[in-house]
Amino acid sequence: MRDIPRDNLASLSAATEAETAAPATAEIPNPAAAHTDAELGAHGSGRGFTFVFLGTFLLLYGITLFINIQGNFLGLFPSTVNPSVWDRTWKTRRIADAVRNDRSPKVVVMGSSRMMQIQPPYLEAVANKGPAFNWAVSSGEPLDWLAQLRWALSHGAKPDMIIVGVDDFAFGTMYNRFQLQLATHWELFNKVPLGERLLIGRDVLLQINIDSTIQSAIVLNDPPKKRSRSIKKTDHFFIEDGYLIYRDKVLAREKGDYRLGRRITGQANAWLGNLMKEPDPIEVLSPDERKVELFRQFLDLARANGIQVKVLTPPLHPEFEKQALKPGMQEVRDRVSAMLAKMCAERQFTYNDFRKLESYGASTDEWWDAFHPTPENTRRMINVLFGLPPEKVVKEVTPDRKILDNLPKVTDLNTW
């Protein structure tokens, strides 16, 4: 291999000749001129090389993408061979099924996992508007609700009423990896605003690696014929109306094994631990302009389509508040609550601040953990939302334990 000419590179200690000659006026040689066009041109590679190079890259990367998308080992792609069963995509498919069966939900619950224990049969009985569906998704935030509403409107699933639970810190900027789930349902994903869609797409593609490609290829080689997951291997699952059953928690409570206090403390430590890694935790929790704008678009879209919206701030367990929430964080919550109240008032929507358990008559026992209230708790919320006394029972709904004994026909254990 011939060396690149180095006579134009002087040493730090041996350039005596150049120095004594006239160092201040010596021409500084141009290292870039080491290779002339003739030398480069001598390679004679031409346009053909470029096309083969880029063509090979695109082909191989395209094949990798195809294998990952269809094999879907990561579960992050809208595969037709191995469909994802994350809550965003699974629940959207259930609504699509309902529309096909002329049972499009008229009352829809949106929000995060803190809203997942609102029972649609109870809501149907209280709201008296027709079928209800629980469309709350893990770590749901404004981007999800806007995409969901846009999807519903374009797929014949326009509800008459939306109940949306807005978490205190839903407008913050902490990275939300659950949003990658939006990419698992192609039509839902296309309802996400373009900028966010590109970012989610990029983050999904970043999950691809050699291992996922190999595993996806194995799946493609022997694709699953049906969705089949044993209930014994799951700690929670969804039923057809979007309601969540916490199997492990229900069984633990029945056994008398349930340590609520310990769970809350563990969650408080974990939550704070993650937050304190941020350079400015309060800034990260504070409302981000873009997310506020997305929520505004969501409310305006609902209003433009004559949909009634009931906004609420779901509670956190008081013990968690005591252990985890610092003074600055309480101020953020108050600011968000005031902002939601104002936005709702401007659009003649209702807003309920359920941060205090007394505001809807709940107790500190009606909790699974720091964040997730039980069905008894959410029943009271629904009652107060519709102007009923908290303790009223409008309709007896099948308890979770009975559902576990008699699994419904459609769950995310046996249906894609």
């Binding site: 390679h43 470029t50 090979t56 605003p193 966010e196 970043l206 690696n209 490609t213």
Partner: protein, 520 residues
């Protein structure tokens, strides 16, 4: 924006390439578009989020608070523009001042001083404010006073590089080595040209001017030989970074963290950690330089070589002819020579070398151990200079002497990397205590304080040891990327292999780590 990211490889680069070559053919278009694209490339990292609406809203200065927001969102870009504008105007003003009259010469010197002060002031504030304030606080406490507040400033990416380039322009104009440009566009493009903007190579005005003025640069069509060379270099650099450097980092980082936490490594484990870092920093930084040069070629701009098989160096001086070449030549031309170079006694030369390398170490970051690393190399250079003068350095003509010199130089460089790796510029309050992990690692390398007889750390994987041996063999026997790229005939099978490697690298983007030299 990182070179090893989807948004760069799949969006920015194809769009920039297409618009540059096919958007227009005039020189003004080429320079203007390249400057605009470079500013966009640079600005990307400073936005709070990367949505299109955020980008558009950043220009809405007519809205309440819009002007304040504009300055905040574009703050680092504006700083770069301000810094380069000072030097552009200084460069244009200098030739107008007479060199024949004392007042003219005084004003020329003053203008030069203002330009250099502005650049060093910016660099000092963004890079060293925390360090010096921490030092002041340490001194205050040592003297019996209380601690002083430590300034924390967000580091402006690329500032170490573009301020040096700006200064070199003004100094060269002052010395009569370069003609200043009347075209602000030329100058803005020179400073901001995105391939080299964030982490070098540090280019000179004379490197680039004749290329901008080359009639062929305003050709209608891309120069495909340049483009292909660029693709090959870019891919090789990306592979060096992702497949070698990042894999080494993943294995060695826990070992270094263990030493920082006060744990003991075995002798073998220490060597493995240090060797891994030695190869990591080389493949990472040279990989970046390859990518930068490759990107330059895609736009028919030839950037200078920055690495020339540095671990094949036969003495410390030879090492600095091969490692970060553009920085070492900059230090030589603008620091070492003005100090007097080697035009004096051995002690005088040693002094100049120590000062140059002290500042060279400080340039890398605001941390004591970067200074220690710089002084270590200053000591090596001074020592080599003296030994060579006394004919005590083995001649390279003798094969045994040649190999001995190479491995001795390699060992001396490795020792320096221990200080470099332990430097923590992100924590200026750490101060001199940060030297403890470095000394511990060095001690463990030579068998002190290991507390055990095991030859290797129990968690070192066999493949890792083989990988390190492979890296050593590569650095000692294989040609470097430039030698490969500039000499090989680009046949079709290379196109296929290159495309496959690029695809493998892009798949690896999910496991990316930052480029080391971005922190400088």
């Amino acid at each position: 924006m990182l070179f090893n990211s989807f948004e760069f490889v799949l969006l920015f680069l194809p769009v920039a390439f297409t618009l540059f070559w096919y958007g227009g053919t005039s020189l003004r278009w080429r320079l203007g578009f390249l400057t605009f694209a470079s500013y966009a490339f640079y600005s990307y990292w400073q936005f709070e989020n990367h949505s299109f609406s955020y980008f558009l809203n950043s220009f809405a200065i007519w809205q309440p608070g819009g002007l304040k927001r504009f300055f905040w969102d574009w703050r680092f870009t504006l700083i770069m523009i301000a810094s380069s504008s000072v030097d552009y105007f200084a460069g244009n003003w200098l030739p107008k001042l007479s060199t024949q009259t004392p007042s003219g010469r005084f004003r020329r010197k003053l203008l030069l001083a203002i330009s250099i002060s502005a650049n060093l002031g910016l660099l000092g504030f963004f890079k060293y404010a925390g360090f010096f304030s921490a030092m002041a606080s340490d001194v205050s406490q040592f003297m019996g006073g209380g601690p002083l507040p430590i300034i924390s400033v967000t580091f402006a990416a690329g500032i170490s590089f573009y301020t040096f380039e700006s200064m070199s322009y003004v100094i060269d104009v002052y010395r009569g080595l370069a003609k200043p440009t009347r075209s602000y566009l030329d100058y803005a493009c020179f400073i901001s040209f995105f391939p080299h903007l964030i982490a070098g190579p540090i280019i000179r005005w004379s490197d680039i001017l004749h290329q901008f003025r080359d009639v062929g640069w305003a050709r209608r069509r891309p120069d495909w030989d340049h483009v292909n060379l660029g693709l090959v270099l870019f891919t090789m650099g990306l592979a060096k970074k992702l497949i070698i450097a990042d894999r080494l980092a993943a294995e060695m980082n826990p070992m270094w963290q263990a030493v920082k936490d006060g744990q003991v490594l075995t002798c073998g484990g220490s060597w493995a950690a240090v060797m891994a870092y030695t190869f990591r920093i080389y493949f990472d930084f040279s990989g970046y330089s390859d990518m930068a040069t490759g990107l330059g070629h895609m736009f028919a701009v030839k950037l200078p070589q920055n690495f020339d098989s540095p671990y094949k160096a036969t003495d410390p001086s030879d090492f600095w002819r091969r490692w970060h070449i553009t920085l070492s030549t900059w230090l030589r031309d603008y620091l070492y020579f003005p100090l007097g170079g080697s035009r004096g006694s051995a002690l005088f030369t040693a002094r100049n070398l120590m000062i140059t390398m002290f500042l060279g170490g400080l340039w890398h970051g605001a941390a004591w151990l970067f200074i220690v690393w710089g002084l270590w190399h200053g000591l090596l250079l001074a020592g080599y200079h003296i030994l060579r003068a006394k004919k005590l350095w083995l001649p390279n003509e003798n094969p045994a002497g040649y190999w001995f010199n190479r491995q001795l130089t390699f060992l001396l460089v490795i020792i320096g990397w221990v200080f470099f790796r332990c430097a923590d510029a992100s924590n200026p309050a750490l101060g001199l205590p940060s030297i403890k992990p470095a000394l511990t690692m060095l001690g463990q390398m030579f068998g002190f304080g290991t507390g055990g007889t095991a030859a290797f750390h129990p968690h070192i994987k066999k493949w890792f040891v083989w990988a390190l041996l492979g890296c050593w063999a590569w650095c000692n026997f294989m040609p470097n990327s430039f030698q490969v790229a500039y000499n090989i005939r680009l046949r079709q099978w290379i196109a296929v292999a290159g495309g496959a490697v690029l695809a493998a690298c892009v798949i690896h983007f999910g496991t990316k780590l930052d480029f080391l030299y971005f922190r400088f």
